[in-house]
C-alpha cells in the first residue's frame, strides 16, 4: 500500500533523513521505533508532504506523491495525527471534529465516534484546547477517523498520557485495525506498541536499520533494547 524508497528530507539547512526505505501493506499496523531524533516524526511528516524539502520516492496505492502538495496527498487517503495533536484553540470541539473534510466513503460515523469517546460528546461546544491532554489526543484521532482515509499516520499518540487513557487509545487503534485501516505508528512507549503492531521498523540517524516482525520479537528483544538504549 505504501512504498517508501530512498526518502531524504531537510529541516531548513539540516539534512534529517538519509534514505529511508519502508513498506506498509494494507491492513497492517506498523511502528517506527527509535531514539529521540532518529527521524521518526520527520518520516511521517515527509510522507504527509508538510516538509519544505524532500526527495526520493513515496508511492501510495501506486501513485507517486513525492511532488504533490499535502492537500492532494490527503485526498489520496492518508491522514495525519501530529505529535503536538494540533487541536485548534479558536474552534469548538465539534468544529475541530468536523474540520477535516470527508475524502472517501467508509469513514466512521459520528455516532460510533461518540460511542468510542463519550467524553468528547459531552463537551462539543467547549473550545478545543479547553479539553484535557488525553481528551485532546482522542479528538485528534477521532477527527481523522471519520474522513474515510485508508492510511493513518499516528505520531506518538500516548505521549504524556495516563495509563487508563493509553488503554483507551490502544482499544481505538485495535478497532481501526479491525475496520481494515492501515496504521503507521511512531511510538516511544514500546510496551504499548508491542501489543498492537504486526511489524516494527527501527530507525537510527535518519535511516531504517532493522525490521522485526511481531512473531520474532521475543527472540530479538536484546537487539531491540540495544537499539533503543533501554
Amino acid at each position: 500500500m505504501l512504498h517508501v524508497r530512498g526518502l531524504e528530507a531537510w529541516y531548513g539547512e539540516s539534512h534529517v533523513l538519509h534514505g529511508v526505505d519502508l513498506e506498509v501493506a494494507e491492513g497492517e499496523v506498523v511502528t517506527l521505533l527509535g531514539r529521540n531524533g532518529a527521524g521518526k516524526s520527520t518520516t511521517i511528516k515527509a510522507i504527509m508532504g508538510v516538509l519544505d524539502s524532500r526527495k526520493g520516492s513515496i508511492r501510495f496505492q501506486g501513485t507517486e506523491t513525492i511532488a504533490l502538495p499535502p492537500d492532494r496527498i490527503a485526498r489520496l487517503g492518508i491522514a495525519w495525527c501530529p505529535e503536538e495533536r494540533g487541536i485548534f484553540a479558536s474552534l469548538t470541539v465539534k468544529e475541530n471534529l468536523l474540520l477535516p473534510p470527508v475524502i472517501a466513503p467508509g469513514g466512521m460515523a459520528l455516532e460510533r465516534i461518540y460511542a468510542l469517546f463519550p467524553n468528547l460528546k459531552e463537551r462539543l461546544t467547549s473550545p478545543g484546547t479547553k479539553l484535557s491532554g488525553g481528551e485532546q489526543q482522542m479528538l485528534a484521532i477521532a477527527r481523522i477517523m471519520r474522513t474515510g482515509a485508508k492510511l493513518l499516520l499516528l505520531d506518538e499518540p500516548t505521549e504524556g498520557l495516563a495509563p487508563v487513557i493509553i488503554q483507551q487509545i490502544g482499544r481505538t487503534i485495535r478497532a481501526l485495525k479491525e475496520a481494515g485501516l492501515t496504521v503507521l505508528l511512531v511510538e516511544q512507549n514500546f510496551r504499548f506498541a508491542q501489543k498492537l503492531a504486526d511489524r516494527h521498523y527501527v530507525m537510527e540517524d535518519g535511516r531504517i536499520v532493522d525490521m522485526i516482525p511481531a512473531a520474532r520479537l521475543e527472540a530479538n528483544m536484546d537487539r531491540l533494547h540495544a537499539y533503543l538504549g533501554v
Binding site: 504527509m48 508538510v50 499535502p70 491522514a79 474540520l99 475524502i103
Partner: protein, 294 residues
C-alpha cells in the same frame, strides 16, 4: 431635564455623525484584520483599493450607465478580482519571507495605483451624486435630523460587518479560515487547499475595501488621495483594536468614529489627532491592542 439635555445634545449629534466615519473605519480595518490574520501581510494597498472601489463606481456610472446599486455589487467584484490577480502573481511569492516584504510590496502597489489614477483622472476629484433613493427628507432621530444617505451608510456597514463576523466565527467555511490562521500546514494536510483559501481571503478583504469605496463615493469626492487620507487613521484603528481580531477591529472602528465626533464638540482642533493620541496611549498600556492576543 432641559439644562442637562442641552449639554448632551451636541454630543449625541456629533457622536451620531461620527458613526458615519466609524462605519468606514470599521469596514476597512475589518478587511485589514482578515487579510493579516490569514496571510500575515499588512495590506498597505488597502486605501488604494478603497479608492479604486469609488473610481470603479464612477466609471460604471459614466461609461456603462450602471448606477449606484449595480456599483455596490460589481465594483467590489471587479476590484476583488484585481486583488486575486495581485495575490497570485506577487504576494503569494512572499509568504516565506519576513512580514516586511509584503508590507513593502503592497505599499509600492498603493503608490503605483494612486499615481496612475492621478495621471488618468487628475487630483481634483470627480463628482458622484447621492443616489436617487436617498434624495428624501432627513431621518428624524429625535435629537437631530440625519441625512438619509449617511443613515444608510451606518445601517449597511453594520450589516456587512456583522455578516462578515458571522461568516468567520459561526460557519463551516469560517472554521476552515480560523483553523488555517492557527496551523495552515495541518489544515492543508487534512485535504484543504490552503493556498487557494489565502487567495480567496485576500480577494474578499480587497472587495470589502472596494465596497466601502462605493459607499464613500457620494459623500467624499472621488479622488486618488481619498484612500491615503483614510488609511492612516484606519491603521491607527487596527493598532488600537489589536491586529488580527475580527470583532475587535469592528468595535474599535465605530467607537473611534464616535470619539472623534465627541472631540469635535469640546475641542474641535483635536478631532483630527485624537485617534493617534489614543493609539499612543493604548500602545503604552496594552501593546497588543484592546482586543489583541499576545
Amino acid at each position: 431635564m432641559s439644562e442637562l439635555w442641552y449639554d448632551l445634545e451636541p454630543f449625541l449629534q456629533q457622536g451620531t455623525l461620527g458613526l458615519v466615519n466609524g462605519a468606514f473605519y470599521a469596514i476597512l480595518s475589518l478587511g485589514l484584520a482578515v487579510i493579516f490574520g490569514m496571510l500575515n501581510v499588512v495590506n498597505f494597498a488597502h486605501g488604494a483599493q478603497f479608492m479604486l472601489g469609488a473610481f470603479v463606481a464612477w466609471m460604471l456610472l459614466n461609461w456603462a450607465g450602471i448606477g449606484y446599486w449595480g456599483a455596490l455589487v460589481f465594483a467590489p467584484l471587479i476590484v476583488g478580482l484585481f486583488g486575486v490577480v495581485i495575490e497570485r502573481m506577487m504576494i503569494a511569492r512572499l509568504y516565506k519571507l519576513d512580514h516586511l516584504y509584503g508590507l513593502l510590496l503592497t505599499f509600492g502597489l498603493a503608490l503605483i495605483i494612486e499615481g496612475l489614477m492621478r495621471n488618468a483622472f487628475g487630483s481634483s476629484g470627480l463628482p458622484y451624486e447621492v443616489p436617487e433613493a436617498f434624495r428624501i427628507p432627513p431621518v428624524d432621530l429625535g435629537y437631530m435630523l440625519m441625512p438619509a444617505y449617511r443613515f444608510w451608510i451606518v445601517v449597511v456597514s453594520l450589516f456587512v460587518c456583522l455578516g462578515t463576523w458571522y461568516a468567520i466565527e459561526k460557519t463551516k467555511l469560517g472554521s476552515y479560515l480560523r483553523a488555517a490562521v492557527e496551523r495552515p500546514k495541518l489544515v492543508q494536510a487534512f485535504g484543504i487547499n490552503v493556498p487557494q483559501m489565502m487567495t480567496a481571503t485576500y480577494g474578499a478583504g480587497v472587495a470589502l475595501a472596494a465596497f466601502a469605496g462605493v459607499l464613500a463615493a457620494p459623500v467624499y469626492s472621488v479622488n486618488p488621495a481619498m484612500g491615503a487620507n483614510f488609511i492612516i487613521i484606519v491603521f491607527a484603528v487596527v493598532v488600537i483594536g489589536g491586529m488580527g481580531s475580527i470583532l475587535g477591529s469592528i468595535v474599535t472602528g465605530y467607537i473611534l468614529g464616535v470619539i472623534e465626533g465627541f472631540t469635535r464638540v469640546f475641542y474641535p482642533e483635536a478631532s483630527a489627532t485624537v485617534v493617534f493620541v489614543i493609539m499612543a496611549i493604548v500602545l503604552l498600556v496594552r501593546p497588543t491592542g484592546l482586543f489583541g492576543r499576545a
